[in-house]
């Protein structure tokens, strides 16, 4: 990100970058595996490692097996999918807008999802994620398209600044509408309060299956678009001179962000800071090459979401804290620490 604005790397920097880039990969993979294991093994209910092993081989007591496979299993898979989606969506939107403070919400994804969820809750009497997930997806898609149309109106191409401003403006307007809907009656307020917290708890696998196709298509588009983002980072003129179809790439990125962030938000509610934070960590390890930033974002996103979820299960025992709240109060200090490291920002 912003590679064109940094000083040319010295040869020694390049060597160190390669070491970090390749050496970081196994570390991140191991961290991801460890977090998956911890997500299965740790929770409000203490289950011994022996019982966890017994659950794997099918000899654990039914109660413990239920907790491990029916409660922790689905939420672990959901953390993996949502973390990867939000991490990559964040990386894409920061590259698209050339703004290190951008996150997927800047395109109106969260506001769009919340708007239609609020409409469903208030006017259709919906109460649970299983009922309003499709509205969340539709809202994310529709509002992102609206932001895109406003951001590109009359120009024939996407202007990152206009797109950002359009996203912020539309989100602000929608937030007012959402607040009005929330305040229309107590039940709506309570349901939207739960939605806004963002959680992976009590999510059955059908929630994941319903958004997985969106995430898969979004991820494929993102993977295809990432190499071209390197050229766009150097400026539109340079990218065009290198033969990159800038407009097509930007549309592809908007589509990918919408599918990834919209699908993730529909499944869990808004998880703030993940999309903002993950690309910064990824760039520390990967450097400015967007192909590597994509890969690292794909892996680091789930690590952060899993860590936040496990933390949320443990700190308020016997109760739990929704993962969206944990990402907020842990994410902000971590982000501050990151941006104080020049290396994280400069790259």
């Amino acid at each position: 990100m912003n590679a064109s604005r940094t000083a040319p790397p010295r040869p020694a920097d390049g060597a160190r970058r390669r070491v970090t880039r390749f050496g970081g990969l196994p570390v991140v993979l191991v961290a991801l595996a460890v977090m998956c294991v911890l997500s299965i093994a740790l929770g409000a209910k203490s289950i011994s490692p022996v019982t966890v092993v017994e659950a794997v081989i099918g000899t654990a007591p039914p109660g413990e097996a239920f907790v491990l496979w029916e409660l922790r299993g689905p939420r672990t898979l959901l953390c993996l999918a949502v973390g990867a989606a939000l991490g990559v969506a964040g990386m894409l939107v920061q590259a698209l807008t050339r703004n290190p403070l951008a996150d997927p919400g800047i395109l109106g994804v969260n506001a769009g999802a919340a708007l239609l969820v609020a409409v469903g809750v208030v006017f259709l009497g919906l109460d649970s994620i299983g009922e309003y997930r499709w509205l969340a997806i539709a809202g994310a898609l529709l509002v992102t398209v609206l932001v895109y149309l406003i951001g590109s109106a009359g120009r024939g191409q996407i202007d990152p600044v206009r797109l950002t401003l359009a996203g912020v403006a539309v989100a602000a307007v929608l937030q007012g509408v959402i607040s009005a809907l929330m305040l229309s009656d107590p039940r709506s307020f309570d349901t939207m309060r739960n939605w806004n917290a963002g959680t992976v708890a009590s999510r059955e696998l059908d929630i994941l299956w319903s958004v997985l196709p969106l995430l898969a298509v979004g991820m494929a588009v993102a993977a295809a678009a990432s190499p071209a983002l390197n050229a766009i980072a150097m400026g539109d003129d340079v990218a065009v001179s290198l033969g990159v179809p800038v407009r097509v790439v930007r549309i592809a990125v908007v589509v990918a962000v919408t599918l990834l962030a919209g699908g993730a938000t529909a499944a869990t509610g808004p998880l703030v800071f993940i999309g903002l934070m993950v690309p910064h960590i990824a760039r520390v390890l990967a450097g400015p090459d967007q192909r590597w930033v994509f890969l690292y974002s794909l892996l680091i996103g789930p690590i952060l979401v899993l860590a936040a979820d496990v933390l949320g299960r443990l700190v308020m025992r016997p109760g739990e804290i929704p993962v969206g709240i944990v990402t907020s109060f842990v994410g902000a200090p971590v982000l501050i620490a990151l941006i104080r490291r020049r290396r994280a920002v400069a790259s």
């Binding site: 409000a44 029916e70 109460d127 305040l183 309570d190 025992r317 109760g319 929704p322």
Partner: protein, 343 residues
């Protein structure tokens, strides 16, 4: 019997009912509108006071009635027997009706009663006027239009600033405390303010509970838990209403409605009281019952799991005498079956 009345703040009161969420809404209500409405209302109320003040004093002299109780914000005094009472919550409204006083206006609507308070359908002869508490905050202008001689509410509809505006012109009872009021304490206080038999009303409800307990000989003395199903956890609500059936709180039952009083869904086996009441607003019943640990719970084995819908949850959350009638009628048959099972 110390069933709690409606709560002033979500931080204090996290309850399974839909009712306390009104307070959350109160907190974010548009203050500017309140101030404007209050200014107009104070003017109107001043007119009411100017017109009715002398006659009020005369009637005070005439019937010799005078009463004072300690309200949440200070002493509430009346110097004539109240005849035009405005009720700012359904709970106080039903207490007033059972004390023999029909409020001239009640802050509610027929739709709200139909959906959440069906036992109150047809109980009131006064106006049902939701504009008395727009955004769940008392509106002095709307209240003044009824020319009341007593306003009865609670601290989450009558915040202290609104109370200060109202009380200068019309006696205003804002509840007994800024935390949860016990309905029976409110009934006694309202009895004093209106010259009616509040304690007698409380005793009559206690007698109904005693009658219910007589039909549950094997359950009396058993433990209870009351939770609201949320995503990923069960949050404790104030279950003191279950004491009407002779039950006692389980060791981990938290009636304080603290925001962190909850049990993770992973710890379902900790909901092991003899009677388990669940307010299932999010439709989690099927998932809960699918947990193999559920059928091992003592309450599940004896059939003493009470699944509360919104009306029953409201009846237990903001109880009054008629609410007691309702939830006793709704839940006693299930409890009798459970008691027979345990016996």
């Amino acid at each position: 019997m110390r069933a709690a009345a409606s709560c002033p703040h979500p931080a204090v009161r996290r309850t399974p009912s839909t009712r306390p969420r009104r307070k959350v809404v109160c907190d974010v209500a548009n203050r500017a509108n309140r101030i404007i409405a209050a200014a107009v209302g104070v003017t109107l109320l001043a007119g009411v006071a100017a017109c009715g003040g002398s006659s009020g004093e005369e009637s005070s002299g005439a019937d010799g009635f005078s009463a004072s109780v300690d309200g949440a914000y200070g002493a509430v005094e009346v110097h004539a027997r109240p005849e035009r009472v405005v009720a700012l919550s359904l709970q106080v409204a039903e207490i007033l009706v059972e004390l023999g006083i029909q409020p001239v206006a009640i802050a509610s609507s027929q739709d709200e009663i139909n959906e959440f308070y069906p036992w109150l359908d047809g109980v009131f002869t006064g106006d049902l006027d939701p504009e008395l508490t727009p955004n769940y905050v008392a509106d002095p202008e709307a209240i003044g239009s009824y020319e009341p001689d007593l306003v009865v509410g609670n601290t989450w509809t009558v915040a202290e600033d609104v109370y200060a505006q109202l009380d200068g012109f019309v006696p205003t009872f804002p509840g007994l405390a800024e935390a949860n009021d016990d309905w029976d304490a409110v009934a006694v206080a309202l009895g004093e303010l209106t010259g009616t038999d509040g304690q007698g009303l409380v005793d009559s409800v206690a007698a109904e509970c005693a009658a219910a307990q007589e039909r549950l000989p094997d359950l009396v003395g058993g433990t209870y838990q009351y939770v609201a199903a949320e995503e990923g956890q069960y949050r404790f609500g104030n279950g003191s209403w279950l004491e009407c059936f002779g039950l006692v709180p389980a060791d981990n039952q938290d009636n304080t409605q603290s925001t962190d009083a909850a049990v993770s869904e992973e710890l379902l086996d900790q909901l092991d009281a003899d009677v388990l009441a669940v307010f299932d607003r999010i439709g989690a019943r099927a998932d809960i019952e699918a947990d193999p640990r559920f059928e091992e719970l003592p309450s599940a084995t004896s059939g003493a799991v009470l699944w509360l819908d919104a009306p029953v949850a409201n009846a237990t959350n903001s109880p009054g005498p008629l609410s007691h009638d309702y939830f006793i009628a709704e839940l006693l048959p299930e409890l009798e079956s459970a008691a027979a099972e345990q016996g």
